[in-house]
Every structure is written in C-alpha cells, then in structure tokens.
C-alpha cells in the first residue's frame, strides 16, 4: 500500500493504481473527456489535471501512477484555473453549435429542429405533444413573432429558410387554446428579449468559410418539395425535410458541454480554423462524423485498438494542430466500422461521432 495525501488528507492506496482512482474514491469528482474506465489512458484533454505539491508541477490524474508520499491538490484555484483553461482551449477550435441558430434566436426557446424532424418523419402526433408541452398552457408566441427563427435559419443562406413559423402555427392550431383570439390582450404583450438567459450553454461555430454552408445539405437526403404555405401535413412533412439539422445530436449528452457549464466557460469569440467543416455520413450504418466537433481525444481509435485487421476503422492523421480523426488513407468512410459504429459513438465525449437515424430524422 502507498501513502498519499489528497487535499491534505491522508489515504492508503493500492500499488499500481492511478491517481484518478485514488482521488475519486476519496470522494473528489474529477472531470475527464479523453478518459474512460477500461480503455487505455491517453492524457490528451488535460481537464483532469491535479497539482503535485512537492514537485510543484501539474499532472493529468488519469495517467499518473500513484507514488508513495505524493501530496496532491485537487481543488485549489490553480488547479481549477488550469482545467478551465484546457476547456477554453478546446472550445477555441470546437466549431460546433450545441443548439441550432433558429432555436437560439427564438424568443420562446422552442425546440424547432426536433419539431421539424418529427413533422418530416410523419409523426405529427408527437410534434403536437412537444408543442403543447412547450406552451405550458399559454398561447403560442409565434403568432406575435415576426419569425426570428427563419431569419436565423441556415437554410436561408443556401436557398430559402424553412417555413418554421407557418408549420408551428399549423400544428398549434390543433392544440387547444394555443392560438389566442385576435382581441386577446396577450397579442399586445411585448416579446421576451431574444437573449438566452436561463438557457443552456451553447458553443458557436464562428465565421463560416466558403463552401461550408453547403455541408449541412448532406443532412437532407432524398427529394424535397419546398412550400411556404402549410396547408396539410403532407406539405408540412415535405417542407420540414429541408431542415438541415443544425443542432448537435449530442446536445443532451455531451461531456464537453456539461463541463463548460460546470466551469462557467464562455465560448471564445474567434475560433481557430485549420480544416473546413465536413460532415461525413454513412447512410448504411448511420455513422456521422463531424471533424469540427472533434477534440482529438482518440477514444474512438483506442476503443477498437485490439481488433487487429477485422474491419477498417478510424485512425489519426497528421501531426500537431492539424491532426484529425479520419478513415485511413487507403479506405473509404463508407466502409469503416460496419459492425462497431455503436461502440465509437458511445465513447465519443462530444457530438463528433453520432448516429444518423433515417425516418426519425
């Protein structure tokens, strides 16, 4: 057994254990992104940093072996600042939106992309439920709103915005009490400010490079008939299918976003760019890879490490700032991970690897 001091309290730890285990079993939470129990440690994200007091240096606790007599600071200001800086750096190249632009500018904060997807897949019942849920017994705000959502809609820059407002109103008509009477005093109430107060952290994409706008079109597979006026559900489904899924598939399950909120990170204004936004979608296996969301933690590479030559998979390319996760130079994205797509999607701490669900999406 080894003796170790964590935040000034002494503990006994088994020889050969890693710091993170010791610290966690001592009751201190340790944030991590690139680390997963059961997968070889890698020390990439550096958000699990702790201070080795005796050496006056910082070490990633996920890959540091406990040594006898260590004194570790896990909650000091220095440690917090360093962890938070690591997150800030990661966000500075995280060209991704947690929430879609339409939802961010929506004064009511309605979950528009999800609504669109339900309409497109023909599940109008569920779309109605969501709408009703968001109203919480009040009237729908769209009727008073000029349609900020459509102004923010990324599709607008490609051809024309998705007819969100009309679709929303079309569905709301079937919700009791959603559409107010024109004489209702609520019609004269001002709209809430389009600030995002009270809502969750959302990373931003920064300036788009030429050609990047079109990448989102890949989300809209199949033939689409556009219409501004929504007269029936079939027309609505056609129009809704033109939604480009700007919201992140991992919005509710992103460790990077959770940590940003925990550490109170502000998204950096300028984003570092070295490679364009690219959406790679395999419509057979449903694997989606968005390089601009990747934090290069390598979990997806390591989780398949022991599989030998079984099936083509993801690997690192290049060195340093320009390193990326990719299919191999000799293969095609369409051929990789035929059997193990779920495994890599599950370990990805962000929305870089996710699942494309035809029908539902």
């Amino acid at each position: 057994m080894l003796k170790i001091k964590i935040d000034n309290k002494e503990y006994s730890v088994k020889d050969g254990s890693y710091l993170i285990e010791a610290i966690r079993s001592a009751g201190h939470p340790v944030p991590t992104l690139c680390h997963r129990d059961g997968i070889e440690h890698y020390s990439s994200c550096m958000v699990c940093m702790v201070k080795d007091i005796k050496k006056s240096s910082y070490i990633p606790s996920c890959s540091a072996l406990v040594q006898d007599g260590m004194e570790i600071d896990v909650s000091g200001t220095d440690v917090k600042n360093l962890r938070s800086k690591a997150l800030e750096l990661l966000f500075s190249e995280h060209r991704a939106e947690c929430e879609a632009p339409c939802r961010i500018v929506c004064p009511a904060g309605y979950n528009i992309p999800e609504f669109n997807r339900l309409i497109a897949s023909g599940d109008s019942e569920r779309a109605r439920e969501i709408t009703a849920g968001e109203l919480k017994g009040k009237t729908i705000m769209c009727i008073r709103c000029p349609g900020y959502c459509e102004n923010g809609c990324r599709r607008k820059k490609v051809d024309q915005p998705v007819a969100i407002r009309n679709m929303k109103l079309f569905i709301a008509a079937s919700v009791e009490g959603a559409i107010p009477d024109p004489s209702d005093p609520v019609m004269n109430e001002p709209l809430p400010k389009t600030g995002r107060s009270g809502r969750r952290f959302s990373s931003l994409i920064g300036k788009l490079e030429p050609g990047e706008q079109e990448e989102w079109l890949k989300e809209c597979a199949g033939e689409i008939i556009r219409s501004r006026e929504i007269s029936n559900l079939r027309v609505a489904a056609g129009e809704a299918a033109s939604c480009m899924h700007c919201d992140c598939r991992a919005a509710g399950d992103c460790r990077l976003r959770d940590l940003a909120e925990e550490f109170g990170i502000r998204d950096p204004k300028g984003k570092l760019i070295y490679s364009p936004i690219r959406k790679k979608i395999n419509f057979q296996t449903g694997l989606v890879f968005e390089n601009a969301k990747c934090i290069k933690c390598g979990l997806c590479v390591r989780v398949c490490e022991d599989d030998g030559k079984e099936e083509p998979r993801l690997c690192f390319l290049n060195r340093g700032f320009v390193s990326i996760i990719s299919e191999s130079l000799t293969g095609r994205f369409e051929d990789i991970l035929q059997k193990q797509a779920d495994k890599v999607i599950e370990v990805c701490p962000t929305g870089a690897l996710s699942r494309f669900k035809p029908g539902q999406e």
């Binding site: 890698y42 020390s43 990439s44 994200c45 550096m46 958000v47 940093m49 240096s57 910082y58 070490i59 990633p60 890959s63 540091a64 072996l65 040594q67 360093l82 800086k85 690591a86 750096l89 990661l90 500075s92 190249e93 570092l272 934090i295 290069k296 590479v301 030998g308 030559k309 083509p312 998979r313 993801l314 690997c315 690192f316 390319l317 290049n318 060195r319 340093g320 700032f321 320009v322 390193s323 990719s326 191999s328 130079l329 000799t330 293969g331």
Partner: protein, 802 residues
C-alpha cells in the same frame, strides 16, 4: 516498367505516377528484406519511398495486404512523420534549412527566392519540368555555413537570395561527377600526412573536391603523401580545413581552402619525388606568379603565427573529452581509434570492473544527461540495472532535431566508435543485450559512418556473441528517424521505434523500467555516451574536477549565428557565455553589437548581453529562463529582432507538436497567433499580458518537455526585451526585421546603376539608368535582393512609419 505518361514527359518514374504492378513489385521487394512485423512500418515506408520517391496510396494498400500493418497504422504513421510524401515530387529535392542559424541569416528570403525561381506554388510543390521540389527542413546541421541549401546530397553554404539560379545550375552541371578518392599511400615513409575534414560542414564547404584535387596531384607529381580524411575539427565556419603533418612536431593548418589553392599549399610542404616533377612544379609556380598576384595576398603566404592565431584561440579554451582527438582521428578507421586508446574502457569494464563499480563511477563523475534535461546518468543506469525484465535495451538518442544544434551529428560522424564503446559500457553496466542507434534521417553521413563502424566492430568481435572472450554478448543496430522533433523525447522515441506515431506518454513508468517492447530500456543521448569511455579511462574524479558544483565535465555547443568564428566547441561547464563568445568565437561578426545569445533552441531562451557573465550550468541557465537543451548556441546582434526570434521558435514548436495534449496542440497555436499579430504591428499592449498568461498555462499544462518548454523563448523575450515587444505594438520593429513593419528605401547615394532594377524579381524598381531608383512599395516583396546587390549601399531598410 515505365508508364506512357512518364516516357512522354521524358523523366523516369521518380517524378511521375508509377503503375500498380510497378508499385506492387517494389513493395514486395522491400517487405522481403525488412520483414512483415507491424513495428517495421517506418522502415518499410522509408525503403518504398526511396524507390518511388513518394508514397502512392496503392503502395500503402499493398503494404497492408502483405504485412501485419493495418491501414489505420500506416495512415497514422505516414502522415505523422515529415519525411513521408503522399504526393509526387520533383526528381531532386531542394532542402532549404530553416534552422535557427539559417533563420537569422535570412533563410526565409532564400526559401522565397527558390520558390520564385522554380515557380513553385501552394498547390504544386514541383517545378514545371518536374526536376525540383522544395522542402523546408528543421536543420541540416551546418549552422556555421548558414544559410544552407542541400540538393539531394550536395550542400551549398552561405547562399544569398540572388544565388538561387546559380545554385541550381551548378547542381545540374555537377551532379553527374562523382569522384572516388584513393587515400592509400606508402605506410612506411610518407613525406607528409594531409588531413582533410570530412564532417558535414567540411563536405558542404567543398572538402570532397579538395580530396579529389589532392588525389589528382598525388598522381601527377607522384607525391609520397598519405591522404587522410578526418572527422570534424569544429572549425565549421572556416571549412574546408586542410592540415599538413610533416612529422610529429610540424603541423600546418589552412582554413577556408578552395580548390585552386590546393596545389600551391601542398607543393609548399611536399617535394615532388622525381626531378622531372620538381621541375614541373617550379615552372608552374613561376607561371602562376607572373600571371596572378592573388597569391601574394592569399593566406597561404601569411606567416604561420598569423595564420594559426585564430585556430589556436578557437581551440585553446576548449577541453576535449567527448571530442578527444578531433581533427586527428579518421572517422572510419577502427584501427586508429584503437591505436589512440579506443576500446580500452570497454576492456577495463569487461575484465576488471563489475556493473556496480561502473555505475558508481558514472554516478561519482556527476555526469548528467546531455540531451537537455540533465537527469543524472548514473541514477538512470542504476534504475535500469535494477529493473526486472529481459532482454534489456540501450538506445542511443541521436534524434537531434533542435534547429541550430549539430553536436550529435558531429559526434556520430566523427567518433562513431567512441559512441559505440559508450553504448557497450552502458549495456554491460545495466545488463542490456541489445542496442539501437536512433539517428534522424536528415543525417545520412552519420548513419553511414555508424553503420560502417558497427560492421567493423562485428568483424573484429567487438560486437556480437562473447565479446573479447568475456562471455558478454551485445548486438547493435541503427534505426533511422523519420523526421519528428518530438521523438527526441524518450517515450516518443520508443513509440517511434515500435512503429507507432511518435507521441510521448506520461512518466512513470520510466523507459528504464518499462520501455521498448515493454522491456527495461536505457535511453541516453549521443554526447552522454561519448563521455562514458573518457570517464572510465580517466576516473570519475578527473571528470568531476571539471565544471561547477552541480554540473560536471564538459559540454559540446554548436556556436553559430552572428559570431565571427562559429563552430563546434567543447567547453568546461562553468565557463561564462562571454568567454565563449569573445575568446573562442572572436566576438560578433561584422563589427555589430552583441545583443543576446539564444541557448537551448526552441526549448531554451534568449539571454541578453548584459547577463553574459553567467557561468554555463544546468541550474543557472534554467534560472535565467533558458535551458541547456541539446546545446545550440546562436548568437544574435542588434539587427536581430526578439519578437521575430520568438515567433520563429514558436512556429517551429507549434509545427513539431505531436498534437496529443490540449495545451501544446492548441495553446501553442494561440500563442503563435498572438505573436504573429505583434510582429505585424496589429497587437495591443494588453495582448502582451495575454501572451504571457497563456505561455504560463502552456508551460504548466503540457504533457511532455516539448510543450512545457515551448513558451521559454517567449517568456525570456518578455522578461529581458519587453520594450521591444512594446515597440511592436506601436508599429515599430527596432531591429528592422519584421516584414510588415519595414520598407526598402533608396537613399541619395544611388548612382542609377540599375543593378537593383535588374535583380528585382517582381519588377518593383523601374529601369531608370543614371537616375535615383525608386521602389514601388505596393509591388515590393521585401526579398532583400536590391539591398544585397547595390554597390553603393544606397538601399536602406526603414520603418513603415518613417
């Protein structure tokens, strides 16, 4: 088999696209000789690239088909190391050194000049005729000849931007000639022994031609001389160096020898053996003296004292331990190494000393790792000795990637047997049975010398089974690095040996306990190993008597930059920086003012002239914010800009970062962005604080030494030269270096000779004979050509605000 496309364009397959069958047969042939293990991936890629000149994706595919290598591994590895090319390139590669010494002497302008001359664009790195491609290399290790350009194996030193065409022409005209040198002589009674340096710097300076010339003379006059190529003398800025030894006391040395002088020098010392030849030489001499008066002023006729004063100063303050017998030993003669005391240390170790006694001697000597961090060598050996596991390995770290440092290259080139002996001692002491020399691929000469030395040792039973009949067995081999600075870090080096991407991991476990293939692996730097035989022969005390309290012995430095007499020097620890610069280096070149010295390369820092009296010592340098590093010492004068220097180093570390940890991968990028803004005059004063804060985070948060030390050049810059940074935020570069903040200006001294106009590559100077020239600032690319060619010195660099 050559494709139609290639025959049409008239070049061989190296510049075009080879067929699938061609590729497959190359790959199969290579794999046959290398083996199919996944750890062989780097070697296989290197060999395939040697044949095809690049790596077509079909080649990668076929390698995966017939070996254990996976597509993921081959993609990751081949894109990680700079050596590998995935696009076809020109038949010849123009390597332009971007090392520190070359940078301060204008390498960026040279790169621009060659790009212009060869019409190389962003999209296509090959000249239109597919003859040349350009490659920027971190350091060619010829710092004293800066700026240096290497085309294939031929090196050109002191290149000016206006020389690009000449260099290319010279290469094309001379590339076919290849002389072989006959060095044999009558061993019994030579009239003289002629020693010619054949270290990389000397070769780059033209010593091969000198050798050829002497060999020709030997035939022509039937001279009874021994022609002997020797390793580096360290006087690298005065190459080629010729030394004539008539008997043991009589030595004459000539520096900066050029081909035309050889005959005269030799005949001055050696009499032709027959009367007819003597007469011939006499007449030649007579004719020469009539038709040329160059001779009168050439250094050949200077009195000996004057000629050698500089050399004596240069060599006088040095202490040669790692480089003992420099300039005397032939680098490829095992016999000579033995005659001068070589392999006595390993004899002593194998026959008299126990492993424990050897480790005690090394510990007692106070020797610390010469790779940069200064970890006590004895301690490392002890850990490795105690570690469980078999077999154990010793790795000689010769991945000297530090731009501006070339001491490991010189040691490997000049004293390969000594490094091998050092490694054998380390192996015996730690119980290792296998040794690997990790040498960077940019050092082909070092690789071939060590390869020959290893073969010699095998032939002489100094390597292999039961060495010298003592029962000790040890094998050694070479692994060529593929171009990644980060592989100098020992854990990354081991990853690279194992055929992986060279990313470091957190220690412990230390390689000494769990290293190559999971076995105990002792990793020592080249210089560290070269000092080992000396310590064993002369005793720990003799070594620890040299130096300071905590830093013992000597350190080899590569002295370059704006120094009068640069070169490779070995000095005792504790010597002051000022002594090195003023006494050994003979002060600053060109009468300029000594501003700072950059020690330790990209991990080190700039120490200002005002602090030059500090002694060289690991701790002292660290205190100053610099670092011993691997020993690059680049001297800067008042025309060097500290912001530009910091930007240069950051660009380097940023490019060389492996990309594993957040702080190094993204942090160095953000730092580089800020410093670029500063150098362009676009930064606010608050950016300096931001840069400083970020630097400290990167220092604290990075995983390995590369990231932890990358901010040093910036931090020392801000510490000692803050006012210079502040000036940049006001749009002024006091040194007149930062391109965005300067312009070229023609003074009234202009005579209208039109030279500048003719040499301007972008036609920014109208052709106006006998009138004062004008520079169109819109068109000017600041290539510096006009200023170089102006005979009146009428072109000045001024601030954009002026």
């Amino acid at each position: 088999m050559i494709t139609e496309k290639n025959t049409e364009s008239g070049c061989n397959c190296s510049a075009g696209v080879p067929t699938r069958e061609e590729i497959n047969s190359v790959v199969e042939r290579v794999v046959e000789s290398t083996g199919k293990g996944s750890d062989k991936v780097i070697l296989i890629l290197q060999e395939v690239q040697k044949e095809l000149n690049w790596l077509p994706s079909d080649a990668l595919k076929h390698i995966c088909e017939i070996t254990d290598i996976t597509p993921g591994q081959i993609s990751g590895v081949s894109t990680f190391y700079s050596q590998f090319r995935h696009l076809p390139s020109g038949r010849h590669t123009v390597k332009i050194c971007a090392g520190t010494a070359c940078h301060v002497k204008g390498a960026p302008l040279i790169i621009d000049a060659f790009k212009r001359e060869l019409h190389i664009s962003e999209e296509r790195n090959a000249s239109p005729d597919n003859l040349f491609s350009i490659e920027e290399v971190a350091c060619l290790g010829c710092c004293t000849l800066a700026p240096v350009v290497q085309i294939d194996e031929k090196t050109y030193g002191h290149v000016k931007p206006t020389d690009a065409r000449n260099v290319l022409d010279d290469f094309l005209n001379n590339s076919k000639k290849k002389g072989t040198v006959n060095t044999a002589g009558d061993p019994e009674k030579w009239d003289a022994e002629i020693r010619v340096g054949i270290g990389s710097c000397c070769v780059a300076g033209g010593s091969r031609e000198i050798l050829d010339e002497i060999a020709e003379m030997k035939e022509k006059y039937d001279l009874n001389i021994k022609l002997k190529p020797v390793g580096c003398v360290g006087v690298c800025n005065q190459t080629p160096l010729l030394e004539i030894v008539e008997n043991s006391d009589m030595k004459a040395r000539y520096t900066n020898v050029h081909r035309g002088q050889v005959e005269e020098i030799i005949l001055k010392h050696v009499r032709p053996s027959t009367f007819k030849n003597r007469l011939r030489s006499r007449i030649n001499d007579l004719v020469d003296s009539v038709i040329s008066d160059d001779k009168v002023y050439s250094q050949i006729n200077l009195p000996v004292e004057k000629r050698e004063k500089y050399l004596n100063n240069f060599l006088g303050y040095q202490v040669h331990l790692a480089t003992v017998n420099s300039g005397v030993l032939s680098p490829d003669s095992l016999e000579e190494y033995r005659m001068t005391g070589g392999f006595q240390a390993i004899h002593k170790c194998l026959r008299i000393l126990s492993a424990k006694e050897i480790i005690e001697a090394i510990s007692g000597s106070g020797l610390r790792g010469r790779g940069g961090a200064g970890f006590p060598t004895g301690k490392k050996w002890e850990i490795s000795h105690a570690a469980q596991g078999s077999p154990k390995y010793v790795v000689c770290n010769g991945d000297e990637g530090d731009p501006g440092a070339f001491m490991d290259r010189m040691l490997l080139e000049s004293f390969p047997y000594r490094v091998i002996e050092g490694m054998m001692i380390a192996a015996f002491a730690t119980g290792a049975s296998k040794g690997i020399f990790y040498i960077r691929a940019e050092y082909p000469l070092a690789v071939s010398r060590v390869r020959k030395a290893i073969n010699d040792c095998y032939e002489n039973k100094l390597l292999g089974k039961d060495i010298l009949g003592t029962g000790f067995s040890f094998d050694a081999e070479i692994f060529e690095g593929a171009g990644a600075f980060v592989c100098g870090e020992e854990t990354a080096l081991i990853a690279s040996l194992e055929g992986k991407r060279g990313t470091p991991h957190l220690r412990p476990p230390y390689p000494a306990v769990k290293g190559y293939r999971g076995k105990p692996t002792l990793v020592n730097n080249v210089e560290t190993l070269s000092l080992v035989p000396w310590i064993i022969n002369n005793g720990a005390d003799a070594f620890s008597r040299i130096g300071t309290d905590r830093s013992k012995g000597t350190k080899v430095f590569a002295l370059a930059g704006k120094i009068s007499k640069g070169g490779l020097i070995e000095v005792p620890m504790g010597i002051t920086i000022r002594d090195i610069i003023e006494k050994i280096g003979d002060g600053i070149a060109g009468g300029r003012k000594f501003k700072a010295v950059q020690i330790g390369g990209p991990s080190g820092g700039c120490i200002p002239a005002s602090e030059a009296d500090i002694p060289i010592d690991y701790e002292k340098l660290a205190e100053m914010g610099a670092m011993m590093g691997s020993g690059g010492m680049v001297v800067l004068d008042d025309s060097d800009c500290m912001v530009d220097m910091a930007k240069y180093f950051l660009t380097f570390t940023h490019r060389q970062s492996c990309g594993k940890c957040t702080f190094c991968r993204i942090g160095t990028k953000q730092m580089l962005d800020i410093i670029t803004r500063i150098s362009e005059g676009k930064a606010a004063i608050s950016d300096l604080d931001e840069l400083e804060k970020l630097s400290l985070y990167v220092k604290d948060g990075s995983l390995c030494g590369l990231g932890k030390t990358a901010p040093n050049p910036v931090l020392t810059g801000l510490r000692y030269f803050r006012e210079e940074y502040e000036a940049h935020t006001k749009g002024i570069c006091p040194a007149g270096k930062c391109q965005h903040l300067i312009k070229y200006f023609v003074t009234e001294d202009c005579t209208g000779c039109t030279k500048c106009s003719q040499d301007c590559p972008v036609n920014a100077i109208p052709f106006t004979p006998y009138e004062r020239h004008l520079i169109d600032q819109e068109l000017c690319t600041k290539c510096d050509n006009c200023r170089i060619v102006c005979p009146e010195n009428a072109i000045k660099i001024i601030g954009t605000n002026a």
